[in-house]
Structure formats: structure tokens, C-alpha cells
């Protein structure tokens, strides 16, 4: 996963354009992606797909013709979606177009202006400070013209048409944790699931933030009812602990599942209530959709110093964190896949486990049988109103133990899967 992020890092992505397309090309080598191109001007709910932006080069040259700011060094140097410009002007006139982070003098900020036409440069305070007054030449060799918005979709059909949605944004330029980490974990998760028989169908979206999810929702209104659970994946490479932000519903299957998986892993439990800011869960959880989609990150957006600066680079992302994030998403998928409701086939009194070889032969011992207790819990609560996850929570057994116990009891004919 780290190599994938290294490969994608230098590309100048945006919400449209060739950087985004190249990113989808490379992710498409990991997992089959259905590509969509939506024309500029297309109405999507209250929004309009904007013109396509592409950039070849950008610089500020000093009086000696020396590049003092150079897009080739960092894609962050240009305000994303800057209109083309070629001009000479004194520093005083240029200053309103220059963005720095005075409190972090070595870092370049990340700025965008998708829906208001303007241009600008981002640079470190240490680059700006020594610039003498006088004339500068500025160039942004970009185009902003009718084209398309691109996104990629990977659909893994399962036994049912009920869907799990995994969404990550791929519109940020040279930023590593936000969100090459999220998109990469999503792609590797898709690759891990691609060969496996699945109960749910899985849909992975690699989209530009905000306008991408709005576009996707506008074009898939008729079928979003299939989505039974979903996750927005973002910021999954930093060394912080995993953090889950609940869906707007707060107690849907994805909420209970992720919380259970996180709790069973131990460590600090970082669970947040839904709030209407963040990533594309803003759109999935808008009141007219209210989809059961939460957001999984490590350190959440805005809570690490490097967020939306040039310091969100390859040094912030750790292979171990990426591996742990993938492992966590796989555990969540396993729990979603396995969670179901069984019906006890001998609901009146306990079944006689002993005659089936499921009970210790010699009675009178102190409570010793962990597995017997798990059997008794699963049998007692398999009344059609408790899913395995609830049984795990109520009994205190790990989900995996409950699941294996239920499967074993089902093999003995003591449980049957309930129709949901």
C-alpha cells in the first residue's frame, strides 16, 4: 500500500482533470474500475458539474528570471482550480494572490477555489519572507473549460443485492494521508474481497469530494435503498488510533458493527457522534438520503497539524498504520458478512447438548465450560429478535466465538437461520 501511495503522490489531482484520471488508471491496476465521465454543466441536485481543470505548469519568476515559486516542485504551489494567468506585477499587487501559513513557516498550505474563479499561489512563509519588492512575472498555464468529471466504481456482486458502500475521495493533489491513504486502503480492501464468495454486494467509489458523491447520488437515486451499510474511508495512514464517526442514524448496523469491532480490539475507543461536517458522509447522510454510512479514519481531519499542508507528505503515512487500517476494515466486513439472526429450533427448555456430544460428561464441576456458556447464550437469545452481534455484546464473548458457536449449533440442527 505504501508503494501505491508513493506512486500516486506526485500527481496533481483535482475534482476534475487528467490528474484525477491518472489516479483512477493506477488504482484500476489493483482492482477493476468502471469509469464514468460526466459532462461539465450537468445538473446534479442543487449543483452543476463544473468546467474541467487541467494544469501543465506554473511559476513566479523574480526580476532575474529565476523561478522563486515552481509548480514542478509541488502541486500545492498553485491554488487548485486557478484560472490561467500570465502577467508582470510588483510584489505589492501580487501579495493578495499569495497564501502562506505564518504559524508554520516551512509548510505550504493547500487551497482550492472550485466554484469562484480566481488564481493564486501557495508557498511557505520562508519562501515569501526574503522576496524583495519589485517586479515579478507570474504564470499559471492552466485550462478551465467544458470537459468532464471522472470517477471510478468497483462493484463486487454478492449473494444478495443488499449493498455495502465504501467511498473515498481522490481529488487532493500531493497530500498523502488525506486522502491517498484512504483511497489506497479502499482499493486493497476491494482486492481482498474480489475473490471471495460474499453475502452482500460491495460497491467501492473513488470520487472527487463533495461534487463526486453528489453526482453519484444524483445518478443512482433509484437504487440507494439497497445500501444497508457504508463507510467513508479517509486519513487511514497516520500513526493515530482509529476513529469512527457514526452515521446520522447513530445506531444502524454499520454503527453497531464498527463499535463492536473497535471495542473488541481493546485500546482507547474513539467513537464520535455524527456531525454534518467532514467528508462525503455529509452527502450520504443528508436528510433526504439518511443512508447508514459512517466514516472511518485514524486521526480525523483537522485534528493533526499537518492536515491540508505540504507536511501531509509520505513521512506522515506509516506502512504499519496502513496495514492496521486494512486489517480493521476486513474485520468490519467479516462481522457484517457473518452477523445474522438465528432461530433456536428447540426453544422450549434447553436442548440436551450432552447427547450430541456438546456438553462435558461429568456434571457438578464448577462453571468451567467457556464454550458451553457461549452455546447457552446463543441458544437462549436466538429467538429471532437478536442478531449475533447483539448476542456477542450481551454475553461478552468476542463476535468470532459467537459466530463459530452459532455455526456449530446450526450444523447440529439446533439453530436455523431466520429470514430477515
Amino acid at each position: 500500500m505504501f508503494a501505491c501511495i508513493e506512486d500516486l503522490y506526485p500527481l496533481c489531482r483535482s475534482i476534475t482533470g487528467d490528474g484525477l484520471r491518472k489516479t483512477l488508471d493506477r488504482l484500476g491496476r489493483l482492482v477493476p474500475l468502471e469509469r464514468h465521465e460526466v459532462a461539465s454543466g450537468t445538473r446534479v441536485f442543487d449543483w452543476t458539474v463544473p468546467n474541467e481543470w487541467n494544469i501543465r505548469d506554473a511559476w513566479i519568476k523574480d526580476a532575474s528570471g529565476q523561478r522563486v515559486v515552481d509548480f514542478r516542485e509541488s502541486s500545492l504551489h498553485v491554488v487548485n482550480y486557478s484560472t490561467p494567468v500570465r502577467a508582470r506585477m510588483p510584489l505589492a499587487e501580487l501579495r493578495p494572490h499569495l497564501h502562506t501559513l505564518p504559524e508554520r513557516p516551512d509548510w505550504i498550505p493547500y487551497r482550492t477555489s472550485y466554484y469562484t474563479e480566481t488564481w493564486g499561489f501557495c508557498l511557505s512563509q520562508r519562501q515569501l519572507d526574503p522576496l524583495p519588492e519589485g517586479e515579478y512575472e507570474v504564470c499559471i498555464d492552466s485550462t478551465l473549460a467544458p470537459g468532464h468529471l471522472s470517477y471510478g466504481e468497483c462493484h463486487l456482486p454478492g449473494r444478495t443485492t443488499d449493498e455495502v458502500l465504501i467511498s473515498s475521495h481522490v481529488c487532493h493533489p500531493s497530500l498523502a494521508n488525506d486522502n491517498l491513504a484512504g483511497a489506497t486502503v479502499a482499493a486493497f480492501l476491494a482486492r481482498s474481497l474480489a475473490g471471495i464468495p460474499l453475502r452482500y454486494s460491495y460497491r467501492f467509489l473513488f470520487i472527487p469530494g463533495t461534487i463526486g458523491s453528489i453526482t453519484w447520488l444524483a445518478h443512482n437515486q433509484a437504487t440507494v435503498g439497497r445500501i444497508k451499510a457504508g463507510l467513508v474511508l479517509a486519513c487511514l495512514g497516520d500513526p493515530g488510533a482509529p476513529t469512527y464517526k457514526r452515521s446520522r442514524r447513530g445506531d444502524s448496523a454499520i454503527d453497531r458493527t464498527v463499535e463492536h469491532v473497535l471495542r473488541s480490539r481493546g485500546g482507547e475507543l474513539r467513537i464520535r457522534d455524527f456531525s454534518p461536517y467532514g467528508y462525503d458522509e455529509r452527502q450520504y447522510c443528508s436528510p433526504g438520503f439518511d443512508l447508514p454510512v459512517g466514516c472511518l479514519t485514524r486521526t480525523p481531519h483537522g485534528e493533526y497539524a499537518e492536515y491540508h499542508t505540504s507536511a501531509d507528505d509520505l513521512t506522515l503515512v506509516r506502512p504499519a498504520s496502513l496495514a492496521d487500517s486494512l486489517d480493521l476494515t476486513l474485520a468490519i466486513v467479516r462481522a457484517l458478512e457473518a452477523d445474522r439472526t438465528y432461530l433456536n429450533q428447540n426453544p422450549r427448555c434447553e436442548p440436551q447438548l450432552g447427547k450430541r456430544g456438546l456438553y462435558r460428561a461429568l456434571g457438578g464441576l464448577r462453571d468451567s465450560g467457556v464454550d458451553e456458556m457461549a452455546m447457552l447464550w446463543v441458544l437462549n437469545l436466538s429467538d429471532g429478535r437478536h442478531r449475533l452481534l447483539e448476542i456477542a455484546e450481551r454475553s461478552g464473548y468476542p463476535f468470532g466465538v459467537v459466530q463459530r458457536t452459532a455455526e456449530m449449533l446450526a450444523e447440529h440442527g439446533l439453530l436455523a437461520e431466520a429470514v430477515e
Copy 2:
């Protein structure tokens, strides 16, 4: 307000009679009062309006003809509703008719006997102690005869017939905090609202305690369903912090509103659950009515030493406390008036705030926009199931910010008021 209390303080009020009428006269100078006179003997639910009580003078004279207890000095000196008496008797025979507070030797207690015919005097222990044995002459120049029970009502019509009830008792003689303070704050609240366009209709009751609210309820059974919220106001002049006692329902609009207003003011939150003792909320919250009426006081009845004694005088009531109480009731009214449910007119995905000038132009900044967050909260939760007060509580924003944000979004056509 303090001047009003000073003016009313010397009158000898009771649950009927001229002291009560004079009190209503004076409150009627502040706010138009519709006066009601209900004849003695009228049946009101399980009760009967008692005979009317009036008193001109009362005293105990010692052997030398000197007044040792004198009604002209304090209206508390006579057990309220004492039957007329004119007699000579030795101190030993008089003693059962004398009430003191031995643990507070300088204070005169307040005693009543509305429904059991008797007579008596209240005096300080220091007055009683030096009295020699021997003959005394006692006189209570009162009348207890068929007449009327009086109360005043101020109705401020609003855009709807849904009503807010504000009730305070005006039957206590020379006691300042309980309850001239409550009645005065109520009258000034009514005066403040009189000139303002209102959503709800407001009904202010100035009534004798218990029998007054029972009488009013008996005569208004058909229309109490209009009452959507209500407050009993009492003990609002002492220096203690405001205290809210919940309605019997516990989670009605008035409960949530007062709690929110008190919480947003900061300081110790003094909220009590409903109990069936106290002021006229006992009647409004009887199980056959169960009206959404709470009780707002500063220090609750019975919890300050001066309660129901001559020490509940003008020194206990502070102008600053009165002003704070009025301010609090106005804040509650403002919140009741403003609280409503809106419907997001673009419920599918967020509306594009930027094209309406409602969003910062330059993206990529760290979360900075407090107002943007308020907009997002209001939009996300305006699904027809959340009132503004709930949005304030869920988001952590003050009610006023949420309200202004909603109005601004409604002006832009993004919200429309929901029919309730």
C-alpha cells in the same frame, strides 16, 4: 418592580376579600386585567368557594388596656381567615390561640385556617415571653360571610389560539418574596409582551392559591386543551439562583425550553423533577388535566428560613433578582415563540451554499466557519422531526444562533416552516 412590591406589601390579602381586590386594582394599573367574581358556595370540582373574609382590626390588650399584639403593625398578627371574636380571658385560656416560632424568636409566623372555622393570633416569641399571666382582652374585627372570590386575568391574543399560561398567586398578606415577587414579575412580563406581535396567545392569571386555580380550571375545562406551555411564577425576588421544577410530563416543550435557557445562561443548573406539592402546578398537573405547566422560582418554597414568616419582608427581595427573573422569563418566552420545525427544501445532498454567497470562497482552510457549521446543522436536521431547540441542543449552538441561522436560510429559500 420593587416599588410595586413596596406598594402592595402592607395590604392584608387572603384568598377572598378586599385586600385581594385592592391588589388586583393595583396590578391592573400595570396591565389590563379582566376581573372575575365567583360567588361563595359555588361548587368547583371537589371544592366549594368559601365565604368571603374581610378584616378591619385586631388586637390583644393587656390588663392596662395597652395593645400587646396589634394587627395595624403587621397583617400577619392574625391567623388568616380568623372568625370574629371579642372576649376577655386569662392568658392560660388564650395560649392555644397564640402561634409563635420559638426557634426564630424575633419572627412572626404566617398561619391560615381557610376551611376550618377558628381564630388566632401570630406573634414573635419575644412578644409572648414577657406577657404576665392574668386577664387579656382580645378582638378580631373580621367578617366571614357570603360574598365572592376574586381573580384577575390578562389575555394577550397571538397569531394562534395555542396558549401559554402564566399563573401566580396573590393571596398572601404581608409577605414579599412569596408571592408579591412572583405576581409582580408576571405583571411586568405581561406588560413587556403587551405591545409585541406574538405567535402564541398568553394568559396571565392572578389568583388566590389552590382555590383560585381550581376555580379557574373548573370554569375553563373546555379550553384548557389550548395550553401548550405554562409556568407558575413564585418566589422570584430572593438572591438565590433560579430553580425550575418540571411539569408532571417532565419532557414537554416548557420543560425542554426552560432547561435549555437555564443551561445556556451557565451557572449551577437547578432543575427538579415534578412532585405533587408546591404551588398551583399541583392543580394544573393533577392527573385529570396533566397540563404542561412547570414552576419557576428562585429559592423554592420552604427552602429559605424566612419562608412564611414576617422575615419574608422587603429586605429579602432584591431589585437585581427581580430584574434577573424578568429577564429569564423573557428569554423563555422568546425561545417558546421562536422554536419551530423547518423543512430543508433541498434535502438530497447539501445545497450549494457558495453560489448563494453563504460559504467562504477559498476552500481547503481548516474548519473555521462557525456560521457555516450552524448552517450545516440546521440544514441536516431540518427534516421535519427536529425543532430548533433540539438542533441547538444537538449541535451545541446557542438557541439564538440556531434561530437566526434558520431565518437566514429560510430567506434564501433553503428552509420552509413545517406545518405542526
Copy 3:
């Protein structure tokens, strides 16, 4: 009660057989018991009533013919339900049939093998250690043959057919706390209730554990719907504090009643959630029945060191604990019997208590009337939706005060019992 336990202690009980029958005989002297005999081989749900087991003698003799383990000394020395055996074998061959408690070298463990045919001896580690290798003679003079399963039932009819079930197991051999204490408390409770007019009907079951409750449930499926509350009684003689384990429902009448009674007694509140292990509540609370049956013990099974060993003897059981347990069960029955819903007959405003002599004559006093407050609480909450127990919990008054207050108000016509 202690004498009864002393009398029963030496008998070798099991889930069938003459020891069990003798136990029922003796309990039948305390309270009339209807005896049931269910034939071996009878199918009861997933189970089959086993062959009947009886034992006359058992021993291990050393080379000198000396009994080194002797059933006449303790009924625990034989694995309960051991098949007959008469053989000579070296110690090495005998060892797998010998059970000790190495960590408690003076105690004999209690072991059973009801449903797997085997034989064995239980002895203390101190008995085993000095045994030399060499030949031993073993004898278990038992029979395991078609016969019957016995249980006793005591039905006390009340005014209604709604039932309270009290169940205790009587299948353990010479163990005192588990469960002669429970069965004895149950028998004395039945004796206490036998002469009293009762609202509910009471059904006491003295049954072998597991197979006994399964058999009873199988034979009474049609009428278990009458059971409105129930308790499994066990381990009620040790010096620990009472412990209540909730029914599977968790908030049924028995749960709320026992919790209220325990809370009002003060001291540490030992309440446990339901779990599917323990005594016969496992069967009563199986999902197909889900009866409102909790379990009352002092120290719960498995949580005291002597549990299921020879140290659970007469020294573990205290007369004071037995008396306290009986007292507690009586308090629970009293609360169940008395708890009901009343309807306020004057629900609109308070009734005038004074004219009925129910209110202090002289008003204006500080809140003094504890009884008046109880009256006001009962009147206010008697709206058909609150039982007396809930009124006690909400008001903070002891159940007895609330009950007497309600009866007094009913005598005055202010309350009427609601139809449930």
C-alpha cells in the same frame, strides 16, 4: 428450618430414586405435596426421563479388606448415578475413577454423571495420598433401571388463577446450602402462606434440577401462561447477602418487586442481569417460554469456595440467614400481593382532603406532613398507568406506606382499584 435441613442432610438424593422420595416425604410433613411419578423413557421436549437410580452401599477396600472409601460416611463418595460395579483392580487402573480436589485437600468433591453411564468415587486428597499401590476391591451396590422421576407440587389457590411460581431443586445429596436451604425456605414460605387469603395462586415445585423443570414444563405447557411472576430459590442459608438474578425479561413485575424490596432493606444491592446458566431459571427463561422467573440466592452458585463439595455442610448454613431469607421472600410476596393500580376518582384538581379529615387544619406551616405528601403522590399518580410500586419508587416512600395510604384513600372513596 435448620432442624429440617439437619434431618434431610444425610439422605443420598439424586434426580430420581428413593432418596428423592424420602426428601419429598419429609417436606410433605410441612406442607401438603401433590406427588408426581413420571416413568423412565418419557419424552420431555428434547430430553428423555432417565432410568431410576438407587444405591445401597459403596466402598473401596484395600488389600487388608479395610474400607478406605466408604459411602456410609458420606453420600458424596460415589459419583452420583454411578452404574453398579464389583471388581478388583490395581490402584493404577482405579485412578481414572477417583475424583479429588487437590487445591482443597480435606474436601470431597460432588460429581454426577446422569446421562453418560460410568462409575466413580469422590474422596479427599488426604484420603487418596497415603493409598499404596497394589490391589483394591471396589463395590458400588447401585441399580440403574426403568422406574420413575419423582417431584412434589404444592398449589395454594388464591382469588385469581394468575400464578406465582416458586421452584427449588431437591436432587443434591448431602449438600446443605445448595440446596436443602432453598427447598426448606420454600417449604416454610408455603406453610406461611397456606392459611392466608391470597390474591394470586401460588405453585411450589420441589423438583430435581434441569430434568425436573423440563418435565414439569412439558406437562404444563398449556397453563404456564398463568404464571405472572416466579422465583427459583437456592443457596439461601449461607451468611452472604441476598442476591437477585433478573429474569430474562429483566423488567417484569418480579424483577421490579424484588429490586424494590431489596433496595428498601438497605445494604449492598446485589442485582445481576439474566444469564443462561444457573438453576432452573435456565428452563423457565428458555426463549420458547421466557417466563418472568428470577432467581433468589444469598451467595450465588459457584461463588463460594464450599460450593459442590463436602464443605457445603451444616456448618455453612446459619439459622439467622435462613430466617432472613424467609423474611425476604415473605416481603416479596407481600409486595406482589399488594401491588396494584388505582384510579383517582377526582382526577381534576386535588380532592379537598381537609373536609374528609385527611389534612392538617392549620395552613401556612412549613412542609411537615409526611403522610399528606404520600397522599398527594398516590392521588397524583393514580391515573391508571402507575402501579403502587412505581409510586413508591418515584416518591421515595416505602412500599408499605404507599400501600396503606392507597387503602385509606380508597376507603374514603378517593381511589378505586383499576381493572388490569
